[in-house]
């Protein structure tokens, strides 16, 4: 398509900005234009030619509006028109970062009317004044003068012709952006990083663009709006959420569910839900005053004020407060002494806060529990049965205080778990001993279900169930390396072993427990071989405990009922033997405060308190006709310990009474209690049972602790 003017020059209007400066400039003079002006020159061209090639021009004009949004101009020189290359519009171009430079153009003289007023002090003021005077005289002389004659003329008026031009509608669009400080921050951050199209997309979502109503219907505008799809959808959310969903979005939505962030979000949400549900219980655990929802409280108005006051002073349930207040009404002077009031009126008791249980652990019997040494809210629970007949696959779970309904970590083991302990030196290691005698070390930092180290390949491993294991920090004075940590375990094959953590788990024997025949014969071992057919020369060890002050010394409880005191430095002989129990000793524990006494519990229904210097027990406690599975001294008081037998959990307070327990809490059959632990930082007791639940109980109103020695 070519358009020629009279001189034969080719003045084909270029579709876009490629305009030939040579032809255009002289015709238009010094005036140059922005694109809109250029659009206007289009029709100017057409009107001067008799060949209306409107379609071509229209197309060029039409595309102006589409592209004028994108290209940037830079008017630096008025004389020479910049060569503007037609840019191929692609979808990426629209998303690309566009830099718009705002510069001041040269001053364009559109109208220059020199003034006709001259200052009196100007240089040619005299001349001007003179001329003015002459002019005034001429005007005066004009009317009657011969030199001025009136005459009329006629000019030829050209015929006017109307000409119509059509151009495409110019699309106008309002765009507004709310500049917030984070928007600025983000943009500057992205300048340092490579600008990506994602940044564009996010910026678009923050801007608000109000499109004029007419443009929406226009075809062109539709293409523009679909490119800005992000903006549209967020702003028109209320109206058009159910409107057309592109196929790409469908894939994206599924991707949301599998993303990492989503998993984390779910994790937090679950924890927060738990906090909501368990808030009163958790507060009681932490010994905070219990907050109640004002909507939920149903206290009568008379009691409310008093209840609130009492609440600030005590931890515990509302009911108890009300009970108190009833008494207080009788006695108007409420002693504000915290220690006195509860004990005078209400006897000490256990109150269940919640229990760690879930579907996964239902049916497994709790065999052992251990607190993490570093994080006092993390509890590891091992599940496995004690009896030979009930063996199934074992489980070790880590529970956190923040989520009592689902364990944080679940480790499945081939055999029932019988013992576990957290390490002190590397607090993420959990050692687990199982019924088949093997030991595995897990890293609780990761969610992987496989052990870090396993002792099944070790040649020296135990052949009987591992009944107890412990990580021990010992002073290695000889090697001078400070405290090192060792893993010690005891098992039914009669060996106490120390395990070395290297590439493969391997162990060395600390001690072999020899059988002691009977009390009459003090000699250990094999004298009476003829009369008794021994299966093995070793007695099964059930438990051990290291002395809290002297880590060289430890006690071993055996299946025969003897307790031996041994030393790490002498692995051949026992230092002392304490005989008193008639059944296997399930647990021994040194008193953490008065370190010369220890406690032992056994299947002969008794718990015995010993002093290390005497061969007979000081005290015997028996209160039930069932096996006593577990005992533990309270970490706060030298007189208090907890014992669990199959039907009850009992708290004994030796300063109050040695004949019967201070608190006794029954289990509902057929559930049996199997393990007990005190909580380290609060007055709570954890009790595990054969159903797989670990109940958390709050100790209330126990006597003020004292650490006096016995």
């Amino acid at each position: 398509l070519q358009v020629l003017d009279e001189e034969g020059k080719d003045v084909t209007p270029h579709p876009l900005f490629c305009s030939d400066p040579n032809t255009i400039v002289p015709r238009q003079g010094k005036l140059l234009a922005s694109s809109s002006y250029f659009g206007a020159t289009g029709p100017a061209f057409l009107s001067s030619f008799s060949m209306p090639q409107t379609s071509g021009a229209n197309a060029s004009l039409g595309s102006f509006s589409g592209t004028c949004l994108l290209t940037s101009y830079n008017f630096s020189d008025v004389q020479v028109r910049q060569e503007e290359i037609k840019e191929e519009l692609t979808k990426e171009d629209l998303d690309r970062r566009v830099d718009l430079y705002l510069t001041e153009t040269e001053t364009i003289w559109i109208l220059d009317m020199p003034s006709v007023v001259v200052s009196v002090e100007a240089e040619d003021a005299g001349r001007v004044l003179e001329r003015n005077r002459i002019y005034v005289e001429i005007c005066k002389n004009r009317p009657g003068n011969d030199r001025f004659v009136e005459k009329m003329m006629q000019t030829v008026n050209g015929a006017t012709k109307t000409k119509e031009v059509q151009c495409d509608k110019i699309v106008m669009e309002d765009k507004g952006v709310m500049v917030t400080s984070w928007d600025l921050y983000d943009s500057f951050n992205e300048l340092e990083i490579e600008p990506t199209s994602k940044a564009e997309g996010s910026r678009a979502t923050t801007g608000k663009s109000s499109k004029s109503h007419t443009t929406k219907e226009h075809d062109q505008a539709v293409s523009v709006s679909s490119d800005r799809g992000n903006t549209t959808s967020t702003m028109v959310l209320e109206n058009a959420v159910l409107a057309k969903i592109h196929e790409e979005e469908k894939c994206h939505s599924e991707a949301v569910l599998t993303s990492e962030n989503f998993q984390q979000g779910l994790f937090f949400m679950e924890r927060i839900l738990m906090e909501n549900i368990f808030q009163p219980k958790l507060a009681a655990y932490r010994q905070f005053p219990v907050l109640t929802d004002p909507n939920v409280t149903s206290a009568t108005s008379g009691m409310v004020a008093a209840v609130k006051e009492a609440k600030q002073e005590e931890h515990g349930k509302e009911k108890k407060d009300k009970e108190e207040q009833k008494e207080a009404f009788i006695d108007p002077s409420i002693p504000s002494d915290l220690d006195k009031t509860p004990e005078d009126i209400v006897p000490p008791r256990l109150e269940q806060l919640w229990s760690y249980t879930c579907d996964l652990t239902n049916g497994h019997s709790v065999s052992s529990m251990a607190w993490s040494k570093v994080n006092a809210d993390l509890l590891a629970v091992g599940y496995g049965a004690f009896d030979f007949k009930e063996q199934k696959k074992g489980l070790a779970c880590c529970w956190s205080l923040k989520n009592p309904m689902w364990p944080e970590r679940v480790f499945r083991c081939e055999h029932g778990v019988t013992a576990l302990d957290f390490s002190t030196a590397s607090p993420n290691l959990l050692a687990v001993g199982t019924y088949d005698g093997s030991i595995a070390i897990y890293n609780v930092g990761s969610c992987i279900d496989a052990p870090l180290l396993d002792s099944s390949e070790s040649s020296n491993k135990h052949t009987g169930p591992v009944w107890q294991l412990r990580w021990l920090e010992q002073d290695r004075g000889a090697t001078g390396a400070g405290k090192t940590e060792r893993l010690i375990c005891i098992s039914a094959d009669g060996r106490i072993t120390e395990w070395l953590i290297q590439k493969r788990l391997d162990c060395t024997d600390l001690m072999k427990i020899k059988r002691t025949e009977s009390e009459k014969k003090k000699l250990p071992g094999e004298k009476e071989r003829k009369s008794e057919a021994l299966i093995s020369r070793q007695a099964a060890g059930m438990c051990f405990d290291f002395h809290p002050k002297d880590t060289d010394l430890y006690l071993v409880g055996t299946e025969e009922g003897h307790i031996h005191q041994c030393s790490c430095s002498r692995s051949e002989q026992f230092l002392e033997t304490y005989s008193g129990h008639k059944g296997p000793v399930y647990k021994v524990a040194w008193n953490p405060f008065s370190t010369d006494t220890f406690l032992s519990c056994s299947a002969d229904w008794t718990i015995m308190l010993w002093h290390r210097d005497s061969q007979t027990p000081i005290l015997t406690f028996s209160s039930a006709t069932t096996f006593v599975h577990d005992i533990m001294w309270s970490p706060k008081s030298a007189f208090v310990f907890a014992a669990v037998n199959e039907s009850r959990v009992e708290i004994w307070d030796l300063s109050v009474s040695t004949l019967s327990p201070a608190i006794s809490c029954f289990a509902s059959p057929p559930v049996k209690f199997t393990a007990v632990r005190f909580a380290k930082n609060t007055d709570c007791l954890l009790v595990g049972d054969s159903k797989g639940e670990v109940g958390v109980f709050l100790l209330q109103n126990l006597a003020a602790p004292g650490s006096a020695k016995v």
Binding site: Y185, L237, S259, L266, M274, I277, D293, V296
Partner: protein, 95 residues
Amino acid sequence: AEVEETLKRIQAHKGVIATIVINAEGIPVRTTLDNSTTVQYAGLLHQLTMKARSTVRDIDPQNELTFLRIRSKKHEIMVAPDKEYLLIVIQNPGE
């Protein structure tokens, strides 16, 4: 897999009335409510979350909104926002 399990557990908790998961465009991906209510919640909470996030970042652009909780007389609405999704859980904590 694990995500599904956790979602199911959350839905089964005591007092939880509804769980809604919305993707970045505002389309509900998972919901336990009827469609119209879900859409309503999605739209309203999306805007509120944007506003909350804008507020937090205006004060300190290096900060970020991590969680949003609205406690009302009848329920508690908890929103876990993110660039790619919005997780909404409505719970009635007073049971």
